[in-house]
Every structure is written in structure tokens, then in C-alpha cells.
């Protein structure tokens, strides 16, 4: 993937060009590209005068940042205590089987990214699956399949 430097510059110029703006800038890049391209980080490193290793440390520290491209549809399976006792593991296993990937991976066609999260704050609805920021409560391994067939935008 080639990174457009002028686009990056417009993202960076929205913030103060200083060390403290690193995280907001990375967040905007993450929204733009759905991941943090290496070339983009190098450009940020030069513009903000922050060592590359520090940016890499921040990018690997926060789960909100990803260094690998993510799929168009992001599926988060809640593995919190309440969801866990109500069978979130089975839901996740069925999703993994249906998509043919493990949790944390993206399908080869770039359609789906499957991830586990620890609590989405809707324990009464457990097990919860969040598909593109839309919450689906009381999921079962069967219901999950219909979630995949009705593709959102």
C-alpha cells in the first residue's frame, strides 16, 4: 500500500505538531487506513521529531492501534465473565470455523477481522457480538451464522 504524504500532512496539521499529539494523530491514521502503515509512521516520526522506536512502542502498547491491515467488517466477540459463562467460547469457535481464521486475524479476502474483547458493558445481553459497532445480544453459535450472511454495508 502506498501512502499519500499530502494526505498524511493534512492529518498531522490538524493537530499541534508536537510530541503530545502523537496518539491523536495515530488514531486519525488508524481511522483513515484502518491500520498504521509503516511508511505513515516513518513520516510521522520525521514530522514530529519523535524516534521511530517510541512510535512503535505506542502503536504496540494500545490495542486500538493495529500494524496489520484490518478487514472491512470488524467482528468483536465479548469474552467477559458474563458472556463467558453463557457460552461466548462456543460462539467464538463457530465464528472461527465459519470464517476460517483465528481470533485476531483477518480473512484473506480482507472482508472480516475477528477479535475478542474483554467486556462491552452489556453483560445482561451476553453473549454479545459486536459487528461493525452494532451490538448483537444473546448470541448462539447458530445465530452467528445469520450475522455473517446478512452483510452490512
Amino acid at each position: 500500500m502506498t501512502v499519500d504524504e499530502s494526505k498524511l500532512d493534512s492529518i498531522i496539521d490538524k493537530h499541534d505538531v508536537e510530541e503530545g499529539s502523537l496518539i491523536p494523530i495515530l488514531q486519525d491514521i488508524q481511522t483513515e487506513y484502518s491500520y498504521l502503515p509503516k511508511e505513515a509512521l516513518e513520516h510521522v516520526s520525521q514530522r514530529l521529531n519523535i524516534p521511530m522506536v517510541q512510535i512503535f512502542g505506542v502503536a504496540t502498547f494500545f490495542k486500538a492501534f493495529s500494524l496489520k491491515p484490518k478487514g472491512k467488517n470488524q467482528i468483536h466477540v465479548c469474552m467477559g465473565t458474563a458472556c463467558h459463562v453463557r457460552g461466548a467460547k462456543n460462539v467464538l469457535e463457530n465464528l472461527e470455523r465459519e470464517l476460517g481464521i483465528k481470533a485476531g486475524d483477518t480473512t484473506d479476502d480482507g472482508e472480516y477481522t475477528l477479535e475478542t474483547v474483554n467486556c462491552v458493558g452489556a453483560c445482561a445481553l451476553g453473549p454479545v457480538v459486536v459487528n461493525n459497532e452494532k451490538h448483537h445480544g444473546q448470541m448462539t453459535p447458530i445465530k452467528v451464522e445469520s450475522l455473517l450472511s446478512t452483510k452490512p454495508v
Partner: protein, 237 residues
Amino acid sequence: MSENTERPRGEMVTFSLNGSYVQADPKWSLLEAMQFYGLNIPTLCHDEGLTPYGTCRLCVVEIGKGDRSKLVASCMHPVREGLEVRSHSSRVMKTRKMIMELLVARCPSSKKLQDMASMMELKEVRFEPANDDCILCGLCVRMCEEQMAAKAIGFAGRGTDRYITTPFDMTSDECRKCGACMYICPVCELRCQGPQAETTLCSGCINTEPVCAEKYDDATCFMVPCLSCVKGPMDVK
């Protein structure tokens, strides 16, 4: 030295160190003050040329009195007027031994850790040895940044997955391969038996010094080697 370079007495702070009142520069950390007064405080992540980091926790001391006393890392704690510091109380020694035990369990192949464990008379390691090669003390990271001005290596990841690496885990252009990180690393040096030692704890040099008189709650004997109360060879295990 001329009188001008001498600091006026009023600028010093007075605090209690193991029961005796001592004076120190307010810019010092507790560790620096204790080292100035000749106390031998074990440290791993501290180096005079680098900013203190406070990760190894071996330099813990007890401050405050009675029930309100707490343990702080002395390398990060500034000296303050009226502070009550105990550097070798039984609580401190117990904590230091526990930290040492955890460190040795993590990297049993390090000679420096083994030697420090011997100095602390650590007798057993109750944890599963992890046989890791890093204690995340951050010495190499600070060395690279502050003394070598390269900023080639740093921490990545978080929590139990934290590790030291170059950006994107690839050979870094910033790295000049000066080797300062290896020079300062406390766990790079292999212990005498080599990497394939059978026991977690070396014990090779342990108890070669006769164990001195009992330790009291606040005080301990600082004579190394012991000169005042040497016991017979039969007391040496």
C-alpha cells in the same frame, strides 16, 4: 575547593537514616544519599549516568513510622526534610529477597543476578524458572537513548507481552552496533556453570562469608567481610 562552590548549610535537608540524623542535598534521591553515607543498597536498574527508572525495585526502603510506614523505590524517591528512612529493616530485607527470588527465577542464567542472590543469602527459589533473557530493567533502552543518542531500541507491547526491540522488529538504521546495550545489560553475562546449569539457584558462592550476628528489626551489620563476630567454620553451611 573555594568557599563559593560550597552550598550554604541552610539548603541541606535533614532526615533520619536508620535512626541517625543525616544531611543531604535536596536534589538527591534517597538512593544517592544512602550511597553517599556508604550504605550498600542492591540495585539493578540504576546507573549513575542514566536517569533513574525504578523498575527493578531492589532498592526499596521503608519510610515513615509505625503502621504508616511504606516501601518506596529509593532511586526514585527524593530526600525530604524529616523523612524517616530504614534501609535494612526486616520488612525491607524480606521484600528484597522476594524480588531477588522472582528475578532469579526469570533469568537463572545471569551471573550478576546469581551473585546478588548470594549476597542476599537467598537459599531457594520457589518459582518455576522461566529461563528468560531479559528482566525489562530498561538499562539498554536508556543507555541507547541518553548516552549513545541513538534511540534505536525501546519497549514494545504491554504487560506480560512487553519486550525490548527495534522498530518493526527489524534491523534499525539508527543502530550503530556500538554494543553499549550489551555492555550495560545485567543478564547477558552467563553464570559460571554456563547456560545449562542444573539448578535455578547457583549457590556456588553462597555462605562463603560467615553469617554474622542476628539482624535486628531496624539495624543490620554492614561489615563486609565481617570483622567483629566471626564464627567458626562449622557455622558456615
